[in-house]
């Protein structure tokens, strides 16, 4: 459906993305993970052609987006902030959007605005953060796109609103097979709604896989050792999630026999292997380069 082919992007001398490859499938919710500054938002802005890639191309339904920007009628980007909306109310914004996006469904937008009790006559700038997010997402859905790019959709909002937004996303995907590409630091949200995830690290996307498959690749090890072995474990580069006295919680790839044998050779008194959640995988993956 959408292909990112060998895309590279630099800002000045700083290389942000290099030979990025990614394919989005119809009707999936794809979570893009990465540390702050890893280039997640840049990926979304490149797809939407707000930024132009230095190399490579982005293809949607067999059309290169930069040569056929009209395909962006089917690709909506919901950024963290939407300053264009600020001075305008719902009706003014809808009047503009329905003329830009031919499939814009005003009835559906009205229905969602009413469902979530969002004000129609208040300027967008006077909304709360949560209302702004809901409002922007509703307008994006109402444009009836094939792909929605959501940058931190649940950041800075309360639990109830977050629940509503996530519910809305899942419904939209289930009913209309809309594809979503989401970046978020809230890993529990990603874990809850995404089918596939990709890790953005070292300027490229690695480990694109199904969420369950990824979680199945790792184990959480809880172990108790005779003595303090923290330095030994750190030197070996094993991510430690928690450490209290001689009690350690670590994350290991299931296929990493070398590290497993290493830990076993430390003669743990207690050894439990537990399933991991996404946050633990994230910490293991991205925290590996720092001193634990």
């Amino acid at each position: 459906m959408l292909f990112i082919n060998n895309v590279s992007k630099s800002f000045g001398n700083e290389k942000v993305l290099e030979n990025l490859q990614l394919q989005l499938r119809k009707g999936e919710i794809f979570g893009l993970l990465g540390r702050n500054g890893s280039g997640k938002t840049t990926v979304l802005r490149l797809i939407q052609q707000i930024l132009l890639p230095d190399e490579g191309e982005i293809v949607f339904e067999d059309k290169r987006i930069h040569l056929h920007p009209e395909v962006k009628q089917k690709i909506l980007y919901v950024p963290v902030r939407q300053p264009f909306y600020d001075p305008f109310n719902y009706k003014q914004i809808v009047r503009v959007l329905k003329n830009i996006y031919p499939n814009f469904d005003v009835t559906y937008a009205n229905e969602l605005i009413n469902r979530y009790h969002l004000p129609e006559n208040k300027p967008f700038r006077n909304f709360s953060t949560g209302m702004k997010k809901q409002f922007s997402i509703i307008l994006a859905f109402a444009a009836r796109p094939s792909i929605i790019l959501l940058d931190e959709p649940t950041d800075g909002i309360d639990a109830v609103t977050r629940h509503d937004i996530l519910q809305l996303m899942v419904e939209e995907t289930a009913e209309r097979e809309t594809t979503m590409l989401i970046t978020s630091h809230r890993l529990e949200d990603i874990e809850r709604i995404c089918n596939r995830i990709g890790m953005l690290q070292n300027n490229t996307i690695s480990d694109v896989m199904d969420l369950d498959e990824m979680k199945g690749m790792y184990s959480k090890i809880q172990a108790v050792f005779e003595e303090d072995v923290i330095l030994t474990i750190r030197e070996k580069g094993i991510p430690i999630l928690d450490h209290a006295g001689v009690f350690y919680t670590m994350v290991l790839r299931k296929d990493d026999q070398e590290k497993r044998t290493f830990l076993k050779n430390l003669k743990p008194k207690v050894w439990h292997e537990l399933p991991v959640n996404l946050e633990e995988v994230f910490i293991a993956k991205f925290g590996g380069n720092r001193r634990w």
Binding site: L52, Y77, I100
Partner: protein
């Protein structure tokens, strides 16, 4: 239909600028004519078409609102995310500005014409003057608009537009002044240098209209040149909001050097004049100009971008 959406968006976003041009530019000349008529007393009423008044300022504001302020507020991201080619976005934005100017000048002309007929005032031929005003304003608008396609902030757009508007006069003027210092025999015939004013955009802001310049060829050519400079910058340069002075980094060092050179050449002449025409005054001025030119351009081009990136 799809284009209509963009026009609506653009109108909504820059309503203030468009209304300012449409109202103030339409009534400025008739209003000043009317005020003059009321205060004429028993004298015969003569109406001079001398300056463009606030008109250049209004079109300047509109272009800054459409480009620099849009980028400064981050709205440019929304604009670029829309399903249009960058070239089409640039053209529609520019066309809307030009249309607003055309509409206002036409209204201005009609109202002024009616008022002059009603008051039986003596006046110069109006059509030529209005034609020149229209082309001049479109040229100044296009210049400022193009500056917005090259720069990253409203302030940068303003500085680049004003600098470009005076650049030919400044560069040729200070170069000739420097030549005349070293080659005393160089004959400086100011009368024959009138052409510099014709190729200097700021002339068409109406400040130097001691005599009506009937030639619309120069502003027309300048409009085309500025339009295409802006057009290619808009479609080729990184357009996102970065806070940088220039969107295209490669421009930074050449412009930095140009500002230093202008500082050297202009302050050296100034130093030469205030030191009773001595070479030491010239050299002191050149050194001072280099320092001033360096720091001004460094602070504007490099330092401000660094601060914004923090």
């Amino acid at each position: 239909m799809v284009i209509k959406g963009f026009v609506q968006k653009e109108w909504l976003q820059n309503k203030g600028g468009f209304w300012a041009v449409l109202i103030l530019l339409s009534i400025y000349t008739p209003a000043s004519l009317f005020i003059k008529y009321l205060s004429k007393g028993d004298q015969p009423f003569v109406f001079y078409t001398d300056t463009f008044g606030i008109a250049p300022f209004l079109v300047f504001i509109l272009a800054v609102s459409q480009m620099g302020i849009e980028r400064g507020k981050g709205i440019v991201d929304f604009t670029l995310s829309l399903p249009y080619k960058r070239g089409a976005i640039y053209f529609i934005k520019w066309s809307m500005g030009v249309l607003a100017i055309l509409l206002s000048i036409s209204l201005n002309f009609m109202i002024t014409h009616i008022l002059l007929d009603t008051t039986h005032a003596e006046h110069d031929p109006l059509v030529g003057w209005y034609g020149l005003m229209l082309i001049s304003l479109v040229m100044l608008y296009t210049l400022t608009f193009a500056a917005g396609a090259l720069t990253g902030t409203a302030l940068a757009q303003t500085i680049v537009a004003i600098s470009a508007a005076i650049l030919p006069l400044l560069i040729i003027g200070i170069t000739l002044a420097n030549i005349s210092i070293f080659f005393q025999s160089f004959y400086f015939d100011y009368v024959n240098l009138e052409w510099i004013f014709y190729i200097t955009p700021v002339t068409y802001a109406g400040f130097f209209f001691d005599e009506p310049y009937g030639n619309i060829f120069y502003p027309l050519v300048m409009t085309v040149i500025f339009y295409f400079i802006g057009y290619f910058s808009y479609i080729k340069h990184p357009n996102e909001r970065t806070g940088s002075f220039f969107l295209w980094k490669q421009l930074e060092i050449p412009i930095h050097i140009l500002v230093i050179l202008i500082g050297i050449l202009s302050f050296s002449v100034f130093g030469y004049i205030i030191s009773d025409e001595t070479i030491s005054g010239y050299v002191m001025g050149a050194v001072f100009g280099a320092v001033i030119g360096f720091f001004i351009s460094y602070m504007l081009i490099f330092k401000s971008a660094k601060n914004r990136m923090k």
